[in-house]
């Protein structure tokens, strides 16, 4: 049973296909990785799934409904959350407010409540703050809650992006190179964190990652993309032995 899939999805910029007829599938409480050389189209695929781009053709199916034409904010509200390869946190909001902002689109009070501090607003905001505190605690950002995100070390900024994505209560989490720039001990810590949130929140995770340690250890299934096309797919140990994949990554012997 898949929760998210793409069917022959394609996107080109000018005359060049960034993504060409790619079909992938993610199951419930599953962890699937997408790997491939730089510029292969991995992030473009994420942008198609999260609605930043509209595909030339093909479909995005989420929980059995076609969301190909839905705008990004509706997909987020429907249950698809993502992080970004280059961290995109909200400067000017504290760590805690970054998380609250991700809960706010689903808060129920209106403008009048906001202006005049009605009980409805106070109650909703109080609940959200409690939830945000819980989340900060789980992710390990409690001590940083009142800091500006720009002042956090890189590893914690990555964590905050994940926490913010979780705050919008997703069913599917798209992680775009979440371990990039982390040192080896942080990577270990990160793998444990992803396992934990996957089980605690019952998430299905789609992962783009360059660190083979992370990909091989965590994935149930791997898709390999090269030049916008699906090169191979399979279990981690199959992918490691696949000659096509090795060729794409380190080139052929004759080429040396």
């Amino acid at each position: 049973m898949s929760i998210l899939k793409t069917e022959n999805i394609a996107k080109h910029f000018g005359g060049i296909y960034a993504i060409k007829d790619i079909s992938i599938e993610l199951g419930r409480n599953d962890l699937v990785s997408i790997i491939g050389p730089n510029g292969a189209g991995k992030t473009t695929l994420f942008n198609l799934i999260s609605g930043v781009y509209k595909p030339e053709h093909g479909k995005v199916i989420f929980q059995d409904s076609d969301i190909t034409t839905q705008p990004p904010h509706m997909r987020s509200r429907g249950g698809i959350s993502r992080t970004f390869q280059n961290i995109r946190l909200f400067e000017g909001l504290s760590v805690k407010e970054n998380i609250l902002a991700a809960m706010d689109p689903r808060s129920k009070y209106n403008l009048f409540d906001a202006f005049f501090l009605t009980p409805a607003r106070m109650k909703q905001d109080k609940e959200n703050v409690e939830k945000a505190h819980e989340l900060l605690d789980i992710i390990g950002l409690w001590n940083e809650r009142d800091k500006q995100p720009g002042n956090l070390p890189y590893g914690l900024q990555r964590k905050l992006e994940i926490a913010r994505a979780l705050a919008s209560e997703p069913a599917v989490l798209l992680l775009d190179e979440p371990a990039a720039g982390l040192n080896p001990s942080e990577v270990r810590d990160f793998i444990d964190l992803i396992h934990k949130i996957k089980e605690d929140f019952g998430l299905s995770i789609l992962l783009i990652e360059h660190r083979m340690q992370v990909v091989m250890e965590m994935s149930r299934w791997i898709y390999v993309i090269n030049f916008g096309e699906l090169l191979a797919q399979g279990k981690p140990d199959e992918i490691q032995k696949n000659p096509e994949v090795i060729k794409a990554y380190i080139g052929e012997e004759e080429a040396c």
Partner: protein
């Protein structure tokens, strides 16, 4: 005493205008160079309703604010999806168009000679009280789900969309809130001066408010208020310096922008404790 009251009344009205800019520019990151035209809409609508139709003042206020929001919707709906710099241009054009219409509809508005004979319903208590209410509302807005989402989309629209923020709709909401607020400032203004002409509400007025928001600190509500207090009263305090006062005013603005590019307070908010600290350090110094 009369002069002091009048300066304070005008400053209160300015504070309301500056707060409306704070919501649209400080929180949401959009520039409205036609903001003062919403003030014109408020002043003229209420003025005409009261003088020509004999409508009671409170009802005229409500209709004028609604009128401001309606015009905000007319400009906002088609333009709010545009890039930020285009929004600045479109609002500028809209503002000047409103002035042109008011100038040329002589039979209704009195044209360039203005509209006179409004009763003086606004006094310091009403203007000051309104400013306090507007400050209260803007503060609550900033720390509500709306304010947080506005600040979020101001820094990063793509990330804002990815967490479920309806960017277009939220921008429009902020724009309409500020339009309504400015229209109300216009009502107060018209019924204080008892006379308005279109030239008062041209783009320099909007620019003046934007300068005040930047002067005080772009993300700071208290900064905007302090700045409106200083820059709003400065020209009056400097009246003895006659033609030099504009120079002094401009130099003050330049010095602040030069040495504190983020404005007086930056993104910080002045808290009661800060003011107490300031007072106690003064007392020690004395």
């Amino acid at each position: 005493m009369g002069l002091l009251f009048s300066v304070l009344t005008f400053t209160s009205i300015t504070i309301i205008g500056v707060i409306s800019i704070f919501i649209i520019t400080g929180l949401t990151g959009l520039f409205s160079l036609g903001q003062a035209s919403f003030m014109a809409i408020g002043a003229y609508t209420s003025g005409l309703l009261v003088t020509k139709l004999g409508m009671p003042f409170p009802l005229a206020i409500i209709i004028s604010v609604a009128m401001g929001v309606l015009f905000g919707l007319i400009v906002g709906l088609p333009t709010i999806r545009l890039r930020r710099d285009y929004i600045a241009l479109v609002t500028f054009g809209f503002g000047e168009a409103i002035i042109a219409v008011l100038n040329n509809m002589t039979s209704v508005t009195g044209g360039a000679t203005g509209m006179a004979g409004l009763p003086q319903y606004t006094n310091l208590a009403l203007a000051g009280g309104s400013a306090v209410v507007c400050i209260f509302m803007a503060r609550n807005f900033k720390y509500s789900r709306f304010g947080r989402q506005c600040l979020a989309l101001k820094t990063d629209e793509l990330a804002a969309k990815s967490i479920g923020i309806n960017v277009t709709r939220l921008k429009l909401t902020a724009f309409l809130v500020s339009a309504g607020m400015t229209a109300y400032a216009g009502v107060l203004f018209g019924f204080y001066t008892t006379y308005v002409d279109p030239g008062i509400f041209n783009w320099t007025k909007s620019a003046e408010w934007i300068i005040m928001v930047f002067f005080g600190g772009i993300g700071s509500l208290t900064g905007a208020i302090v700045s409106a207090l200083i820059l709003g009263t400065l020209p009056e305090i400097l009246r003895f310096a006659s033609e030099w006062r504009i120079v002094i005013y401009s130099v003050t603005v330049l010095i602040i922008i030069n040495y504190r590019p983020k404005g007086l307070l930056g993104e910080r908010e002045l808290k009661l404790a800060d003011i107490k600290k300031l007072f106690s350090s003064w007392r020690k110094a004395l």
